[in-house]
Symmetry: C2
Subunit: 418 residues, 2 copies
């Protein structure tokens, strides 16, 4: 079993080859990987069955077991995802503006791969396929460290993908898996300065916080989402109801789901009962501040909110509800408790729409649309490696381009600086 | 004296106002700052004289004393630099492409300020003015922590600049100075997660390494430069001599100066003596590998290199010299010892120029031009906050745009996600 530093060193060497690999070769390799995953499915399912058995014996909850499970449908979807990546535009090598300076120097700003991308994630084995494929397409080698629950599945997936890489004439170490799933190996990844160019944690809030707090290599923080929908004075009630229903109930476990509903006092009495009616069929519990509670008191699933409810990512059929007196108050609430992910205003006012989009500090700010659209595919960026909630390097859905950097290529004819 | 967390919190509040401040207001504020610096020069010089006296008594070296000194010429240059920033294009608010999605959502990628920028630097007081002005123009508040040697000068500069800000109707806390220059205050800045959006160290290699190793807030690594000039087989000797003379001797203390000269074996015998003649008037010591030493043996200032000389940023009139047998060997040497700053090939070969620019992994790669051009002004980016040698977020000279992030503004008409 290779150590993290050995893996990262081998990945670094492979990354130099990848950086020189053309789009067509990368596309062929991705298609070979997709084919190989389908061709070796029995081997992968067998490994997954072992992981599932061990997890069941260890008492894993059914929801987690479901995340760990790789069935025919999910494997085919993962392979199809890899093929889709191969059809996207390759960001590497494109120039973002070239200038000709007065002294005759031609300065091109050229997109180049980052080098080696480290990813620390939890139980979902499809991340192994998605992340490795997207890194490859952006010209990067990767070091993946998944959770121990999925180690047999991940090892099988990686064996198949590395074999396909080798068949396609690319270095196997362009994709590496850290088979040591101990706490120590995660620490070694966080300390691999000079070897990992970036580290991306994917998983629960605890994992992400731990990586951000402890890593010495550059980190991109992803995926924590306390998202708000604010129904403004004079908003269209039907639109507000549709948006909060979609933002809360269409997939409550994901980071772009809404956790908080803010409603202007002028609309609260009429709008809150309508929201209750729309969410009730989903079994949503509404945790209400005093003013909202006074309106909904006695309705099923309506409880009084505690202060911490407004600072919680429920990832569940729970919605915190607050009545506000102004746009300013809504924006303040979002600044206080939002995580900079996705925030929405439902409004008919041109001025307040502009003020909201200007003043709310988040990766995505919405006027009259559900927060659920914050996603690489929905934004037209293609497959994504995660949704950045930090401001450095990348913000919002991170497609292949977010896994690249730039280099200045300066062409001269003997220029020296005076 | 406010703590780092108090300063950063106040800066955060001020940053919300700055993010909403228009270009014209920022320009007026910068001009007011420049005028105020000139109007209060006696007060600033008096504070600087105290710093200089204390430093002299403390036994500071003359070169460092010179860096600390703020005279009429330097203060006027700093004020003029602030006015120049105000004449640049404002990056904030521009959209980098807007897409209309099939479902009618209009998604604009809009440039926004980062928020609060922390800068840890050493003795040069002009950084206080440059950095604060550039941060302001990009819509950011800043927390500056300079060296203890310059604390009186920095305090005076900051008092004047904050006064001008207030007169211009902007919050004083848009520019804050950490008056505690202890090691602890630097540590507090590195730990100020949630308050500082980015931390930029400016100074010597020791400071930068310490910040990169210890910071929990996102860091941009700047300014370490072990830069190479490679004279290729069949290159123009006169051009090679001009470029290495300029890259080594025009300002040896800066990060874009060359530290290493690599020469192809086919040119070494004729070219190295010419290089020696060109560098000798500057008193350059040439530290040569065995093959180069055999050619220059006996010449004044020529010594045998130790292995570590090829991994050293001399920042002085010293040049490490190595003879290589191929482009591959030159690229390997650069990969081994370069710091990813600026690398140059002098060549007449189209294919080798392309191979060098493709394969060398650095912020700036040059064909037939001096490495000394890696600079915001020379690249046409305007004033710079530093030169990033990392790949995340920004690479190469960082102008105002490098101090911004993006936000997605999504405009809909009630869209929900299926």
């Amino acid at each position: 079993m290779r150590t993290v530093r050995e893996l990262a060193g081998a990945a670094k060497t492979a990354s130099r080859v990848l950086a020189q690999t053309g789009t067509n070769e990368k596309r062929r390799a991705l298609c070979a990987i997709a084919d190989a995953l389908e061709a070796h499915k029995e081997e992968i399912f067998a490994a997954n069955a072992q992981d599932l058995r061990a997890a069941e014996e260890g008492g894993m909850r059914p929801a987690m077991l479901d995340r760990l499970k790789l069935n025919e449908k999910r494997l085919v979807a993962a392979a199809e995802g890899v093929r889709e990546i191969s059809r996207e535009a390759d960001p590497v090598g494109c120039a973002e503006g070239t200038v000709l300076r007065p002294n005759g120097l031609r300065i091109e700003k050229r997109r180049v791969p980052l080098g080696v991308v480290g990813i620390i994630y939890e139980a979902r084995p499809n991340v192994t396929v998605d992340a490795a494929a997207l890194c490859l397409y952006a010209g990067n080698a990767c070091v993946l460290r998944g959770g121990k629950e999925a180690i047999r599945t991940n090892t099988a997936l990686m064996r198949v993908m590395r074999g396909a890489l080798a068949d396609a004439g690319l270095p196997e170490d362009a994709m590496t898996l850290c088979e040591d799933t101990s706490r120590e190996s995660a620490g070694e990844m966080m300390a691999a300065t000079g070897l990992l160019d970036v580290l991306i944690p994917r998983g629960g809030a605890g994992l992400i916080r731990s990586v951000v707090e402890n890593a010495r290599v550059p980190v991109i923080e992803t995926g924590t989402g306390i998202c708000h929908v604010y129904a403004d004075a004079g908003c269209d009630w039907e639109m507000a109801v549709n948006i909060i229903r979609n933002a809360k109930c269409s997939r409550p476990s994901v980071c772009n789901a809404a956790e908080d509903f803010l409603v202007h006092a002028s609309e609260a009495k009429k709008l809150l009962p309508r929201v209750w009616h729309a969410l009730r069929p989903y079994g949503v519990e509404m945790r209400c501040d005093e003013r909202a509670y006074a309106i909904l008191d006695g309705m099923e699933g309506v409880v009084r909110a505690r202060e911490e409810d407004f600072a919680t990512e429920f990832s569940d059929y729970i919605l915190a509800v607050k009545v506000v007196d102004s746009l300013d108050e809504a924006i303040e609430e979002i600044a206080l408790h939002g995580t900079g992910h996705s925030e929405c205003i439902v409004t008919e006012s041109y001025a307040r729409a502009a003020a909201f989009t200007e003043r709310v500090d988040a990766a995505a700010v919405y006027v009259n649309a559900s927060t659920r659209f914050t996603d690489g595919g929905e934004f037209g960026l293609g497959a994504e490696i995660g949704i950045s909630t930090q401001k450095l390097h990348a913000r919002g859905p991170m497609g292949a381009a977010a896994l690249t950097s730039v280099k200045y290529v300066v062409s001269g004819s003997g220029q020296i600086r005076e």
